[in-house]
Amino acid sequence: MSDEALRLVGRPLPKVDAAGKVTGRTQYADDLTLPGMLHARIRRSDRPHARIVRVGTGSAAALRGVHAVLTGADLPVKYGILPVSQDERALAVDKVRYVGDPVAAVAAVDEATADEALRLIEVEYEDLPPVLSIQDALAPAHDGDRIHERAENGNVQRSFAFEFGPVDEGFQAADIIRDDIFFYGGNTHLALEPHCAIAEATPDGRVTVWSSTQVPHYLHRALARVLGLPADRIRVIATPVGGGFGGKSDIFAHEFVAAKLSMMTGRPVKAALTREESFYCHRGRHPVLMRFRLGARTDGRITALESTTYLDGGAFGGHGVASTLYTGALQTTTYQVPAYRFRGLRVFTNKPACGPKRGHGTVQPRFALEVQMDKLAVDLRISPAELRRRQLVEEHSRTVNWLRITSCGLRECLDRVVEASDFERKWGNLPPGRGIGLACSAFVSGSAEAVYRNEGPHTSVRLEVDRSGGVTAFCGETDIGQGSDTVLATCVAEVLGLSPGDIRLVTADTDLTPVGLGSYSSRVTFMMGNAAIEAATKVRDVLFRAAALKLAAAPGTLVAADGRIAAGEAAISLAEAAAEAEARWGPVSETGSYTPPDLAGPYRGSGVGPSPAYSYSACAVEVEVDPETGILTVDRVWVAHDGGRVINPVLAEGQIEGSVYMGLGEALMEEQAFRKQGLHRGPSLLDYKSPTALEMPPVEVITVQAVDPEGPFGAKEAGQGPLLPVPPAVCNAIYDAVGVRIDEVPVTPQKILRALERHRTGDEPRVGPGSVPEAPFRPAIRVQPPPDAPTLDMALTAAKEALCSGFPPSNTSGRARCGRRPTCWRPATGLPWPSPAGATCSRR
């Protein structure tokens, strides 16, 4: 459809579920109460790593008001969200692997009774040495400190190594090679709704589970496996999710516990977790140690990139294998990289398992790459904007690691952010203590692969039209606040000539709705939108056929608008057309589905990264740093996001603003940190700092609409991508403000002070990790790049006239410059500036 023909797409319409949410009528999981409902509580390990010698449940079971007690023996079947990592049990069997690991569970008449029963459960442990860091995990593992029997090597769960294109040649052809080490600290989703599930087993052998989950379909499969029931006897209903951000896209112990306890007692059982438990459930951002080597010519063109990532995975696999691959997959999606080597590994540690959080596995390496690009720009005396602009990926191209790029609005994002923020004038020229930083990024609009291999569609929509003209959309996808219900209603209404509010929605119910894989990887708008358009188009065709008979017109001449189907002046209502169609051919019901194209590259491990389309973002951040206190204030953020055609600007802006907020929280304060014995440092909302309304700076949102040829009405994603450039832009701005590099996240005033102190004493003005450990990487799988990927020749023959006249290239090592301003390139008249960390000049 052309822009002019769209009546709803692009309009700032309210969310279809907002009225329920502003009146308190929306029923989240914890708001549900069933007759006779019991309450479950879970006894969790207080040891980071220990053998379970004995679990005594006699006194707990005998307590008045207790209906059932569960231990690991009652739920022995292992599960895991990925087929390759079936390493979890709902309740621990032989050993516990982190503080918080579920050991036993109780169902009682109320929570107070259940809590009292938990205290009566006796658990005897035999402590094992805890493994709490990447370094610990990479040390030779003895029997006692191996966290899982099934691991690739000691506590290394899995490692990968790939090489695309002529990497060694690329580094040899480089004029400068940067070699930098970064650390991205772990943080958690902190959805305001704590996890909650309710289960009801009935005498007909069926079990219904209501859960605050982003992935009802995957939960459905796991429940069938663990409970030993046929999947068609299990019904999963995803309740409205009070915040997800990836934290509810795994499968959790309490979901099995509630179901099993209900099967044992014959009563409904609610398992509502506390805030503290939600911190221990986690599955959030992996702490990642990273070494990045970047080779470039003096004009800034990248000749080779090598990234090595070490993920601190916590106690279980979860999505971790995918997370590990994601730390390597998307580095090539913004700039033309002709040769790329990636090595990544994930270790098990005795901490809550990590997993996907907004930007899954790509946020950490994007931080490293964008800070390194900033360092390269400084080394080469090229503006960071210009350095990037010279080598942006092209639309309709492929990357060296076989990712297919279709629409790409990155150049417009960059140009508009640079212009809006006045970056070129400000960078290097703001008063002391003030600085501006820039970064770019890309993200998937859904993964082209499901988490388990299957031939089915990734999502489907079924539409039914009754003779009153009422349209109902059945769809398996889950609204987690991002507005997927509104997108569904909008897509259907657009095609049928109705309003979003006209569409009745039945979503995320495995008994009633076709399979949708879930709200993760920014897949829902793209995939569900396409399925909805297909279903609605089929319904419209049926209604047009019926209307054509009534109106004595050709179906091809009809138009659906405002609840009517018109042939010129003559028109009938949608209800009349529906009644006519039903009378002639039976009830009107059609389906639409979406399956991504086969986009995987010709190598094992290529399933992570391919997406039917990529979103693009650019971000500038202006900061103020107080050199006395180290306190950092973010004054303003400019963010441009190419999410394809915007289906609803209010929702899209909300996703972009929320992403910036979450990125700032990660950059400045949020940290999932643990004490020596594996205890969380502060599993509460006071101790785990997150930005309030007072900390949030103004955010200027620029929407760039590179209409995607395969997206629904040309749309791509907006929910995760805009987070990615924020943390590196903050750190780049700090450098511009005070000339120090903070190469790890979160940035704290202490780190800034330490870096400034090092600056004063003549040490390398930087805070960040100094080395990476030895690790048992396998030999790299060498992959021939696709023929249409950027080549080293392209980088080497880049036009000389592209050189920025203002900053002629020069020898970058041992140069001197004015000391006060790090980005001031006046001839050296002041203090010598320390040579950049890790930069080795190999100019020939």
């Binding site: 579920d17 949410k21 008449v109 409205p240 606040g481």
Partner: protein
């Protein structure tokens, strides 16, 4: 209230509460919080529970017009006081101006913080009819939101103030 015997032997008291203009008698233990009584005894589940420690602001309600965290109030202390929850804001099916503004400008994403935000904002507009952006942010600083970055929430409060015709304050 559990009909079966619980381990809890806490004495139960009859509490006379006034919530959203209605009086209600509730049998609850002396240790019950206002949040527990609202959600579990009165079925007013619009008020959310997020930490039960006074940290997140989800359970903000108005007590005699003042926004308080219901998780930190003992229900027994609420007798004789006017309690207003999110369920008490709309006039029948007609949304209050703040609710309408939240709906319209996209201040609601997952919606879990929304009831508490609305109560804090209701208090603000009752006391400062035309608040500055700084005043709005200050008034909402005890209510966390993880979805919106607060931008559209601040905009919604501002819009509601404008529509309610408040004088510049």
């Amino acid at each position: 209230m559990a009909t079966e015997q619980s381990v809890s032997r806490a004495e139960r008291l009859v509490l006379h509460l006034t919530v959203n203009g209605q009086t209600a008698d509730v049998l609850a233990p002396a240790c019950a919080t206002l949040l527990e009584v609202l959600r579990e005894d009165l079925g007013l589940t619009g008020t959310k529970h997020g930490c039960e420690l006074g940290e997140c602001g989800l359970c903000t309600v108005l007590v005699d017009g003042i926004p308080l965290y219901a998780c930190l109030q003992l229900a027994v202390e609420m007798e004789g006081r006017e309690i207003v929850t999110v369920e008490g804001l709309a006039d029948g099916t007609r949304l209050a101006p703040l609710q309408e503004a939240f709906r319209e400008v996209g201040a609601v994403q997952c919606g879990y913080c929304t009831p508490g935000m609305l109560m804090s904002a209701t208090h603000l507009l009752a006391t400062v009819p035309r608040p500055s952006e700084g005043q709005i942010r200050q008034a909402l600083s005890g209510n966390l939101c993880r979805c919106t970055g607060y931008a559209k929430i601040v905009a919604a409060v501002s819009l509601a103030a404008h529509r309610m015709g408040g004088e510049d304050g």
